[in-house]
Amino acid sequence: MILVCILGLPLIGAGVIAAGGGRPTLGWAGVGANGAALGLGIWTAVRVVRTGPLTGAQGVLRADALSAFMVVVIGVIALLASWIGIRTVALELANGQSTQRRVTTYGVLVQAFVAAMLLAVLAANVGVLWVAVEATTIVTTFLVGHRRTKGALEASWKYIVICSVGIALAFLGTVFVYLAALHVGGHSADALDWTSLMAHARHLDPSLMRLAFALLVLGYGTKVGLAPMHSWLPDAHSQAPAPISALMSGVLLTVAFYAILRFKAVVDLAVGPGFARGLLVIVALLSLSVAASLLLTQRDYKRMLAYHSIEHMGLIALGAAAGIPLAIAAVLLHILGHGLAKSVLFLTSGEIMAAEGTSQIDGVRALLARRPALGGVFGIGLVALLGLPPFSLFSSELLMARAEFEVGLGWAAVAAIIAMVVIFVAVVGHARHMLLGPPGAAVVEAPPPGWVAAPLVGGLVVCGFIGVFAWPLSGLLEAAAHVVAI
């Protein structure tokens, strides 16, 4: 029941928005719904850690610790994004870039998007998971193209075509898994259920599972933003409205990665851990090198953030490749930390873009002097994202490195760290140009209102908090890690 509530809440929010007729303030309904979903998610997490997995809706929905964790992540980011979204649509409406109808569409689609992601992580069946992930693609295409500029349309076209291809490959992989599962005596209706898959995992046909997993990594990897099918990501993230970029970069990528994690657990049992590890290491290093190379001479700060996401997805993939409980716990912590920091950064970059009128790095100067609040949040967000303490990304990156060394992936960890240093060099250079320097003649403008700054600062505070304090999450992380760890 509670799981259905979690799923339903965002949709209720969507209903309210749809009924409200395009007033931006109705967005608060979405914020409330997402906040409530977050609350229920936390409650679920507590229960799951105490008493074990929950099921709902006749077994279609199932929440173990991993799902609960993902629900929390989605809830947090959705809360942030829908909150700032109110500001975004209000500004657009005020500037005449939007209509009331589009405001409504936007609000409804965002809520549908959140619901689809929640469905993806709460689905008991990996087929339903696939359907939900594909649904996110369809829903977000319009959100990416929300601005209706040529760039936005181009980005959404690329986004849907590339992701559809990818997700189709994932479907082929799912079919192969299904085929393998049927052969070990699974009942056709629940052969794709997570519990049944795990129960029979050891007997699944290894060669079939290898092919299936390779397709799944390639397919879901497209949505995750792993190289070589990452190309949609910088375009889509740079063209989408800031809250959408935040949602996509902050959680959508990791929801897709959640799917890979689930399948990886099955494949590890079926064919041993070596195969999934090798594959993930390859895509991880490929993604990291792509991100490093393209960040060096990046000119657009939203694209910079997007490539930064590719880097972090590479890191997460590398952590998952290690696969031991420590690694998975670190991966999950990283998912949360990255989600928080990245969404705050995208939301801030939206504010910056609204204020400065350009997304070019060259076009933004001396932000800290001219717009201290925005510049400060952006700078601290970058500090968080670059993996510096006290933010949780530091802890998770360190934990992942430790885990990788422990399973003999030290060389890959070293390669990743080299790429990270290059990325650090690049991002610091860009940040320097954007943030530092004399204010010049430009007038210092008023900071964004408090209700806008609050979630941004709050997101960073939470990110720092979970980086320092272990107790709020440790139980959940460990329980979640044991769901899919080797």
Binding site: R210, L218, M229, V422
Partner: protein, 668 residues
């Protein structure tokens, strides 16, 4: 008791940071500085207690730091560094009370500065890999932000910050890999467990961990060739921050190398330490040479930090080399000398940076060529600078002399050695030490002589006024310590010996003679700095008395002798640049000064020169020949990489198709 103090120190530090962030502007600065001083005092008391009793302060909790837990153990070795940081912190914070420049009064800075000081106090207590790296990186971030506080006014700040960020991150990456390598192979991330099990590790692991750690800590310490950030960042930071960075933070680089090399790894083969010595000698020479030829006061001091870190590394290397060849007592002496130099460097470099900032505030410039005549105008600050400088130049009866002397002794007594490594390393080491010492003396004569003495070279210098009392007090505390430690080294030597013994775990008797002398046990002769000071005082007083007796009338003030010229102006004085010019000529091959001569000819005839402008500049050779090409290379690679994603969806899909085909063929 000490464990509680550890918690208290951390809490006071954090609360002062919170006060700095939240308290109203009127009381913000004073309250947060007071709390920071309290944190330093508490840290000092804790460190003194640990040093005295030898009982470590221990704090463990799993409630902090996700999935690994916070673990802090402050032993005597760490306590020494905490004490040093605390003393420098107190000096810098007292100084900061009167310091109103360079953006340090902003809310951000008031929040970050106490945090930085707190991390300086806590890093040496970290007892597992995660805790250490967490605090280490926190220190890096906070110091970086503090370097940047003045970015609005001067564009060099941003560039300095960028260099610092990149180099420190590079170092942190090396450190991370090195420490994690050790943690993985010993199966535990706790320092105690690593130390217990590390001797059984394969040589390859130990070697690579050590080299990585040297790189990591070396970059923080400003070791050549990873020093390039230091002469940029330290000068651009606000005064108290540059003092903290140069006098307290770089020490932690030495701390780390000793902690890992001697503590966690329990010593290693000779080549490790020869490497450290070589890097140390290189740093010392390179640093002192640049310091001697620099005319920017704070840049000069920053390079001299590299130079002093080189000396410390020389000592660390010598100590390890002795240990690896079985000379345990000498190893301890060399380590004690190094740690003494750490302590003394902290006080003299702290007083130098603080007084240099005062001079900067008083004159409005850092350029030595625009100073002059300041000892008459800002007498106390000038004297403090002079005392710190002479201590750095290892002048007798000031502290730097004692540590350099002890280091020389250690190298000397290692010498009748059958080990060829020692036989070759020690004379070269002494040579490097000596040249460094000579160059440092030159540097200080230049800095003090050009900066403080003679006629003022600019209106800023001519109209300079003494800075506020708290600034004078903060610097004076450290300068007094230079003198006190120089005359009475026995105040610190026993603690330093204890600290060195605790990290090497050497069960050998104290290799030093005690009491008011410093010297090696069992060796004829020792140094009695107190007596030397007394003798010098008596001799100078006697000579002064004699002079007064012979010529009771005071000196007649008259215009300086300028060969009868009408005017004797400041532009006729020697400048810092010209002072260093002979040296630049001598080391032309190393320094490669860039000369630039612009001659414009008169319109009437090319045989008449209308104006000539000569410009000379000294770049850092490593920056020019290593870092710039690397940066250009990265840029080229980035530009090349950009061409691949050209925006065509077909190309993007083709990547996918190729990947799919590869997957199908390989896996299917």
């Amino acid at each position: 008791m000490t464990s509680d103090l550890l918690v208290v120190t951390a809490l006071i530090g954090l609360s002062s940071s919170a006060v700095g962030a939240m308290a109203p502007l009127r009381i913000r600065m004073h309250l947060s500085v007071a709390l920071t001083i309290a944190a330093c005092a508490s840290g000092f008391v804790m460190a003194a207690e640990v040093l005295h009793t030898g009982r470590a302060a221990v704090v463990h909790t799993t409630a902090l730091l996700p999935q690994s837990g916070l673990s802090m153990v402050l032993d005597r070795f760490g306590a020494l560094f905490v004490a040093v940081s605390a003393v420098v912190g107190i000096g810098a914070m007292v100084f900061r009370l009167g310091y109103h420049g360079q953006g340090l009064s902003s809310r951000t800075a008031s929040c970050i500065l106490p945090l930085f000081v707190t991390t300086l106090l806590l890093v040496p207590a970290a007892a597992n890999v995660t805790t250490f790296l967490f605090l280490w990186e926190l220190m890096a971030v906070t110091s970086l932000l503090l370097v940047l506080v003045d970015h609005r006014r001067r564009s060099e700040v941003a560039s300095a910050g960028q260099w610092y960020a990149v180099m420190t991150q590079f170092g942190a990456a090396a450190l991370l890999v090195g420490l994690v390598l050790l943690a993985t192979h010993t199966g535990s991330q706790s320092f105690a467990a690593i130390a217990a099990r590390s001797t059984h590790l394969p040589a390859g692991v130990r070697d690579s961990a050590f080299v990585l750690v040297v790189v990591g800590f070396g970059s923080k310490a400003g070791m050549v060739p990873l020093h390039v950030w230091l002469p940029r960042a330290h000068p651009e930071a606000p005064g108290p921050v540059s003092a903290l960075m140069s006098a307290a933070m770089v020490n932690l680089g030495i701390y780390g190398i000793v902690r890992v090399g001697d503590g966690l790894l329990g010593g290693g083969p000779a080549w490790w330490w020869l490497l450290v010595m070589a890097l140390g000698a290189l740093s010392a020479l390179f640093g002192s040479l640049h310091s001697a030829t620099s005319s920017d006061l704070k840049r000069l001091l920053a390079y001299s930090t590299t130079d002093n870190v080189g000396l410390m590394l020389l000592g660390v290397g010598a100590s390890g080399l002795f240990a690896s060849t079985g000379h345990r007592a000498l190893a301890l002496v060399a380590l004690v000398a190094t740690l003494l130099h750490v302590v003394f460097h902290a006080v003299f470099k702290g007083s130098l940076f603080l007084s240099a900032s005062s001079l900067q505030q008083a004159t409005g410039t850092r350029d030595l060529d625009r100073m002059g005549g300041l000892l008459r105008r800002v007498p106390l600050t000038g004297t403090i600078f002079l005392v710190g400088g002479l201590a750095m130049a290892a002048m007798p009866v000031l502290c730097g002399f004692v540590s350099e002397w002890l280091l020389l002794q250690a190298m000397l007594h290692g010498l009748p050695s059958s080990d060829p490594a020692i036989a070759v390393a020690m004379p070269i080491g002494v040579g490097a030490l000596a040249l460094t010492g000579g160059l440092t003396a030159l540097t200080i004569v230049k800095a003090a002589g050009i900066g403080l003495l003679g006629q003022p070279r600019s209106t800023g210098a001519a109209e300079a006024h003494e800075v506020g009392p708290s600034m004078r007090l903060g610097a004076a505390i450290l300068a007094t310590l230079c003198l006190v430690f120089g005359v009475a080294p026995f105040l610190v030597v026993p603690s330093v010996v204890d600290a060195a013994r605790s990290v090497t775990r050497a069960r050998i008797p104290d290799p030093l003679v005690g009491g008011w002398q410093v010297g090696l046990a069992g060796v004829h002769g020792a140094l009695a700095p107190g007596l030397l000071a007394l003798a010098l005082l008596i001799a100078v007083t006697l000579v002064a008395g004699a002079r007064r007796m012979l010529q009771p009338t005071p000196a007649r003030r008259t215009q300086a002798w300028g060969c009868g010229r009408d005017l004797q102006t400041a532009t006729m004085e020697y400048t810092a640049t010209s002072f260093g010019e002979p040296l630049t000529r001598v080391f032309e091959d190393v320094l490669r000064p860039a000369h630039d001569l612009d001659v414009s000819h008169a319109a009437e005839s090319r045989y008449y020169v209308e104006a000539a402008r000569f410009h000379t500049s000294l770049d850092d050779a490593f920056e020019r020949h290593a870092y710039r090409p690397a940066s250009v290379g990265l840029g080229r690679w980035g530009a090349l990489a950009r061409r691949v994603p050209n925006g065509s969806i077909h190309r993007y899909l083709a990547f996918g198709l190729v990947a799919l085909i590869v997957v199908l063929v390989v896996v299917g």
